[in-house]
Symmetry: C2
Subunit: 144 residues, 2 copies
DNA sequence: ATAGCTCTCTATAGTAGCTATAGAGTCAAG
DNA sequence: CTTGACTCTATAGCTACTATAGAGAGCTAT
């Protein structure tokens, strides 16, 4: 049961180019090739790509996924590392939510400053944006 | 009162390279030059850069900021366009928050699946990630 | 004047995770 | 035998910067 890259992509809900990209990045192993130099994939490839895509749908970075795949390929150890990775990831997501909610509040405050159609010079929003004293506090890398 | 790029950057809380980048992108006008070919800035530049940085701190894209600057430089019309832009931006932020909260729930569910230190094959998290039936629903471009 | 130091200049490449394009080859059906 | 769908490689583009190299400007201390 050997399928080509288009089928593999379809079954995993991603683009053909993305599969090749994962191969280049070392997340997917180099597959066998047909006589005409087409990539040929089997069940293990399908499962692995679905694993990757599922991790991506959980917004993990390729680097995190690489780590998970490494742990998975190396099943002698215990799985404490996986718990740590997931816990860290959850915390990052929660921090991002908090930052976005703060941001939303700033934007809503700004929106209140102009009700509608005034001449440009009187627009409270523009003036609010010009006001250099009301910058949003941000850490070094915002991670919104 | 003419300052050089380092001072300008310091006053606006960004890097020197970022100022040059904004110039290349057409957000900042090309400034006058000194005899030694150094960029020289005045008050208008300072105000404009602070405006840009404030918008960035509100997570607006450079493209959105370009639009705002265009509206600002063209003060004959009324300011309805600014309201629309801001409203759209707030909605994008709210969608992102919603998506992240969903994502967080998925991650927390996954975390429940493995309490601690089992051998790798039994790790509920890895098995949960392999399960292709539990992908997170995502629109075309996730915008997390 | 010369050394040392900080600031500035241009140009280029790298970051993440793809997406898009060009130009060529493969393969099955009509 | 040609059409069409699929695949191949290689390269450039996207966002908003960051990092690097190598050279010049301008000030202070000797």
């Amino acid at each position: 049961m050997e399928i080509r890259i288009g089928d593999l992509a379809k079954r995993s809900g991603c683009e053909v180019v993305t599969v090749r990209y994962y191969e280049k990045e070392g997340l997917m192993p180099k597959p066998a090739r047909s006589g005409g130099n087409f990539r040929l994939y089997g069940d293990a490839h399908i499962e692995r790509l679905q694993f990757i895509r599922h991790c991506r749908s959980l917004d993990m970075t390729l680097s995190e996924i690489r780590t998970l795949l490494g742990l998975r390929d190396n099943p002698t150890q215990d799985c404490g590392g996986i718990n740590v990775l997931l816990e860290t990831h959850i915390q990052q997501v929660e921090m991002r939510v908090a930052a976005l909610l703060q941001l939303r509040q700033h934007l809503v405050n700004l929106r209140e400053k102009c009700s509608g159609s005034r001449p440009m010079e009187a627009c409270g929003i523009l003036n609010g944006l010009s006001d250099s004293n009301c910058h949003v506090a941000r850490s070094k890398q915002s991670n919104l």
